[in-house]
Symmetry: C2
Subunit: 238 residues, 2 copies
Amino acid sequence: MSAWTPPPPGRHVYEYPRPAVAVDCVVLGLDTDDLKVLLIRRGVDPWKGAWALPGGFVGEREGLEAAARRELAEETGIGEVFLEQLYTFGEPDRDPRHRVISVAYYALAKLSDFKLTAGTDAAGAGWHPLSKLPALAFDHAAIIDAAVARLRGKVRYAPIGFELLPPRFTLTQLQRLYEIILERELDKRNFRKKILSLDLVIETDEKQTGVRHRAARLYRFDRKKYDRLVKHGFEFAI
Amino acid sequence: MSAWTPPPPGRHVYEYPRPAVAVDCVVLGLDTDDLKVLLIRRGVDPWKGAWALPGGFVGEREGLEAAARRELAEETGIGEVFLEQLYTFGEPDRDPRHRVISVAYYALAKLSDFKLTAGTDAAGAGWHPLSKLPALAFDHAAIIDAAVARLRGKVRYAPIGFELLPPRFTLTQLQRLYEIILERELDKRNFRKKILSLDLVIETDEKQTGVRHRAARLYRFDRKKYDRLVKHGFEFAI
DNA sequence: CTCACTGAGTGTATGATGTACACGAACAAG
DNA sequence: CTTGTTCGTGTACATCATACACTCAGTGAG
């Protein structure tokens, strides 16, 4: 046994090998007629120049969700979104250079809130339709698949679809949302009957503006009522 | 800047701090009339002597699920079970001594398969009913809560309940399983109607033995048929 | 002002599914 | 043979899902 050696300056020494831990965020947004995902261009190797999910390493004393929100803010300017842990990807070879375990999160954003203008930190960020994604770094394509699958599964029994819409929305917008996510058409009258019978959207006295046809009534989601009902065992289902 | 210093022998040196990454397994088993979870007694500090989930650190070139299965086998003797990733727990202070991020898995085991006999590696392991858990190390109580919630949610739209039963089971056993997991009583005739209409359990020509009343017919789950149906868009639901 | 266009908003009939409910027969044990 | 226990079964009713088409409101063009 050799005598104890002081750690080299600026370095971190452990008795056993440790993987690096990162977070990656799949931010989904609803556009007119498809879902889009927010990607950034990688500025560093490996995969320099490729599109990738926003993300980065977790700070020494930082929670995982906190790290995800920080990276989102830094790399895309997005704050205050619905964000939920998705899955942890940790195959030994997912990063060619060293072992990286990535805790993936998915977020739902109102596209309109995030016009990604050049000149900000988010200059290299862009919304890409799920149907034609560019080549992606690492296993990020698989992470996106997992996020979309989760959304599809969850949207039917949790009111998370509202996270993708502006605070005031028309029932037709809401129907389009479900049609896009579930990838099937829904009957207008049955959809409205169902939604209104749940009694979780409140009719406002506002109407759509800027449309070149009869303006539809705007509704809002009653989150308080939903929370109250859930406490008493109610289960949302579309 | 000082010149490069060689790493001390037997140590691992990184430029940035890295958390340790562990896996923890919530193994659930179905007993006569409740769910039980498999716990081990910790032999080392911190929390030496406390009950904890089986788990441990992830090897340098080992996948996460592989690590979970390895730890399960080493600490409890359990192999070949249904195992699925649950959630990753990474609050900075969940371990008092250093940062540990734990990727939790949950497993469903047939209790009968795992009589935990003293004298094996699993000597310190034991099944504990969820309703009266001992004090647990770290945030393991929260991990168990998450696993049970996941099971409760998933059992209704995925045929994972069968993982908790022996390969041949009676419909009454299956009904008890759902009653225990969902924590509500089900109507016998309606339950049988529902299950049989799904056409996923196959009547065998065997009967229960060793019971002191009329023996019930045994059924088995038709996994192949289920897989085939799922491919064509079928959705299981109880 | 009129017309054309687009999407808003609305009800009913039918089939499918969920729910409530009770008793006779099988078998084992004594 | 009696007792105790669980098995296995059907029907009536309520609820929910589905299929389906037209009138009207409002805008914009001419």
